[in-house]
Amino acid sequence: MPTITLSKKELLETIGKKLSDEELADRISMLGTNLEDIEGDEISVEIFPNRPDLLSQQGFGRALASFIGALGKTGLAKFVVEKPKITVTIEKSTEDCRPYTACAVIRGLKLSEQKIEEMIMIQEKLHITYGRNRKKVAIGIYPMEHITTPIRFVGLAPDKIKFLPLEARGEMTAKEILEDHPKGKEYAGLVKGLKHYACFIDGKDKIMSMTPIINSELTGKVSHSTTDVFVECSGFDYGVVSTCLNMIVTSLADMGGTIEACALKYEHGKLGTITSPDLTPKEWKIDLTYINKVLGLKLSEKEMGALLEKMGFGYDEKKRVVFVPAYRNDILHMVDFAEDIAIAYGYENFTPTIPTVATVGEESWKSKVERKVREILVGHGLLEMKNYHLVNAEDQETMGVNEYVKLKSCVSQEYNTLRRTPLVSLLVALTRNQHHEYPQKVFEIGRGFKEAREKDGGVKEQEFLAVLLAGEDENYTRARQILDSIALGMDIQPSFEEVDKSWSLEGRAAHIILDGKVIGDIAEIHPRVLTALGLEVPCSAIILKLDVF
């Protein structure tokens, strides 16, 4: 989850109230964000992925001020959007590379060092989270004083692209950017295989940016002297890019700018000519009974309205309509208001209640069987082990198991397959215990995995008991005695049939058979297997399927 750094001073100015660090910490946590730290003027907060609109100093400040109930700061924030003065033409050539963009102009900004940093943070954090690392949305901010209008959004053949990218020494072609420029290398995967790369081009045919990779040094770098900026978000879905634009322009407006719309002329698709941004709040019907039922509260319309306003929504009591700010993208269902109402009500103010539903507790049959079998083995003086289900392929192969379920790109590379039975885990565990006294008598109840043969594919999982007896005097008979006492205790009458296992000593292994089906094996382990694993004591083992009980 992304963490943002906020200025405490600025935050308190936005709230317009003096708060101690403790009060601030408490309110930030209870707003539904995770406070990491307050140190000096710096506040670090982790933002949940459903609230990208909180990823800026301004967005966060706006929400917190409303939540705390600062005077004049609750309810729906109002933003004025000036009529468009410039046009952005989205050419047909963008259709197969990056078809959608939403744009706006912000004028009258006074950019200090801190403000520029805040602007960069909004862009970065939105790129990573909401933009899914620029895949879904890429954002560009350009100083108006260096660009000439009108602006075009065009898909260009890579060999037609040449400009001076940010942080480069000279002009570079598209190919050079992707191969040599740090940002180019980082995001090259996003344009791989495309015939056209999407670029913003200004009225003098200068390339402003090659999105989603990099801006031009000449037209795409904001400085202290910049007062007006052009903002664009591009991607594959107009709804997604326009919501992203709304989050940015509202933050920049809170920074002191005025929002001016852009006319967008789409030469492909069904949008035609539209203006962006559209900051009209969305209207949602709300049902008080539903909200009260979910939360277990008895709120009145008025109380609910006040709580909604604390969370930055507008509410029309007569129409029972909630106005959702255009920068919020997390309202999918009426239930999402329930959470915001609960947060505004204060999680700390709910009374824990135990309902009186009569239900009967019941342990699964599997757990019952495990408990009984465990009791029998502990009675025999065996120690229970618990190993990982993930084991090394080599260890399985040492036991002659060559078909196993394999995992993709494991971070811990030595654990790359799922075990066929827990016996392999026990053997490996004993190799780590050789400095301790023998005999070592252990068991594990756990799952084994193999590829399913059914046509749907998938994996067959089986609950096993594995017993391993290691020591000078441990042998087939000892193992069989233990199995016999399980059979007696669990009331089954198995028979035994000699078998050759890939891991057993010839003539000293048996299938355990019940009703004509093999339900397990008992065997002395082949010295080849023991030696390969590095064990120097004789071992005997039992494998038993537990679903036979």
Binding site: M30, T33, A338, T353, L383
Partner: protein, 512 residues
């Protein structure tokens, strides 16, 4: 203490030792004198020491014994004496003198240096060696070296008991090749305490039987016998029982808590499709948590078709446009390929999703309360605070009348059983719950809030799609590693599944 009372408790080994015991003797001496085995004497001594009768002190001694060349020198004289003797017959070159004294050339040149340094020989004209006055005098008497060798041929000596002269000889000889060698020996010295002094004087003649036998009982012989008393305060050798794994003990306890609260246990596969693990829980298909670095996807087999077409279509619809749940949905095109990927379940919430589906099919009860305590998997590297498989405590309450306040009620009840008297909740976010909460518990020792787990009400996109109607479902997923590690004082979380036999044998039980 009453001496008679003590003598009655003495073990036969102690009695045997007491018969020969004196102050300031060694253990090895006592072994020789009693004729008992070393371990028997040691047992007897240790028990007597436990009674406060004596004190044992470790002593390390170095014994000197003759080596090969030393034995030869005793027979034929030391090489320097032989060279000296040869020169007494008349001056000679070193080679001639060596031949005369039957020394090999190497030996001869080695002792020549020694003899010159001590002025017993000197060079005459033409590099010819000749004996000096001092040399002649020396020939007349035994050197310290030869005296030491002779003593050693009688019995080994301890370095501590050498006279200054012999010490001088020892220092010289130990520098020379294979003359003598030293052996380090450990022994113990016994010092008597006042009680010991009394015990050795005491009457040890009484007869006490060591064991009560079934023969004694059958024949009634016990009526005429006296039995030796034990020292009941001493430690006995440890014996390790069979044991359930300590983590399973904790799990059993937690299962018990839910069973007592009327919950039914859920179970299911570890390997799941992304469909059940994530899609059915309304986690968008481009959610960052689905990426390879967090999730174990399977390479072989890699996918599995979703058998239940009805639920597949419903889930697809809810992602794309909200289906019939009243939601907007995520608004993207649902991918079958993404759905069919096989993976190790990332949470046991997948079992809750399957239980909701079972309710729709009439295979599970509504209202109903369900739980599981089972393994989940995350593609992480192992280190002291991370495991790639660990336990999650999962619970759901499916009840038309359930509310957010009930969720808090259940959580409070459960965590009390785990030792957290006070809990608090904070807003949180999970894609499948709304409202969502993070539960903190007040840690009684650390005196701070610690994170315990996540909870919430399942979203209608989950419940309506899986159950077929919108019923409130309270849900939680709680980690257990913290509670278990703290109880067993484990600081490196890998130790939970390290399976060290000694540790498994000696770890305490989960008593809660």
């Amino acid at each position: 203490m009453d001496i008679a009372k003590i003598t009655k408790k003495l073990h036969p080994y102690e009695r045997a030792v007491l018969l020969k015991l004196k102050d300031n003797i060694t253990y090895s001496w006592l072994v020789r004198e009693t004729g008992l085995q070393g371990v028997e004497v040691m047992r007897g001594l240790q028990w007597l020491e436990n009674r406060g009768a004596l004190k044992l002190e470790h002593k390390k001694t170095t014994r000197i014994i003759l080596d090969k060349n030393g034995e030869a020198a005793l027979e034929r004289g030391l090489p320097e004496d032989r060279l000296l003797k040869a020169l007494k017959e008349g001056p000679a070159t070193i080679q001639d003198a060596a031949t005369r004294g039957k020394l090999d050339p190497q030996e001869a040149s080695a002792v020549m240096g020694l003899l010159k340094r001590t002025s017993r020989i000197e060079f005459g004209a033409d590099k010819v060696l000749q004996i000096t006055k001092i040399g002649e005098q020396a020939l007349g008497k035994d050197s310290f070296e030869i005296r030491l060798l002779r003593k050693l041929s009688e019995a080994p000596l301890e370095t501590g008991e050498l006279t200054p002269e012999l010490k001088y000889a020892f220092d010289n000889l130990k520098k020379r090749r294979q003359m003598i060698k030293t052996v380090e020996e450990k022994d113990r010295t016994i010092y008597l305490e006042p009680l010991g002094r009394e015990l050795i004087k005491a009457d040890l003649s009484g007869e006490y039987a060591d064991k009560l036998t079934s023969e004694d009982l059958k024949t009634g012989a016990w009526q005429k016998k006296e039995y030796r008393g034990y020292d009941v305060s001493i430690n006995v050798p440890t014996k390790s029982p069979g044991k359930p794994h300590f983590v399973n003990e904790a799990i059993d306890y937690i299962k018990q808590v839910w069973l007592e609260l009327g919950f039914q246990e859920m179970e299911g596969d570890y390997v799941q499709t992304a469909f059940w693990d994530l899609d059915a829980l309304f986690v968008p298909q481009d959610h960052p948590a689905r990426e390879m670095q967090d999730t174990f996807y399977l390479e072989k087999p890699a996918k599995q078709a979703i058998a239940d077409k009805k639920v597949y279509e419903a889930v697809k619809a809810v992602h794309e446009n909200g289906g019939d749940t009243g939601s907007k949905g995520w608004g993207y095109e649902f991918s079958k390929k993404e759905s069919e990927q096989l993976m190790l379940r990332t949470h046991t919430t997948v079992l809750s999703a399957q239980t909701l589906n079972a309710i729709r099919q009439g295979n599970a009860a509504l209202p109903g309360k369900y739980f599981s305590v089972d393994k989940v998997f995350r593609n992480e590297s192992l280190d002291w605070k991370h495991l790639f498989e660990f336990y999650q405590v999962e619970g759901i309450v499916v009840d038309p009348d359930a509310t957010f306040s009930h969720l808090l009620g259940y959580l409070e009840l459960f965590f009390k059983k785990l030792g957290y008297e006070k809990i608090r909740i904070r807003p949180a976010h999970f894609p499948y719950t709304e409202p969502s909460v993070e539960v903190d518990g007040w840690h009684p020792e650390k005196k701070e809030w610690v994170e315990l787990g996540g909870a919430g009400l399942f979203r209608p996109e989950v419940t309506k799609t899986l159950i077929g109607k919108e019923v409130p479902v309270l849900a939680w997923g709680i980690g257990m590693a913290r509670s278990i590690s703290e109880y067993f004082a484990i600081t490196d979380i890998r130790d939970l599944y390290n399976n060290d036999i000694k540790k498994l044998q000696t770890i305490k039980k989960w008593v809660k």
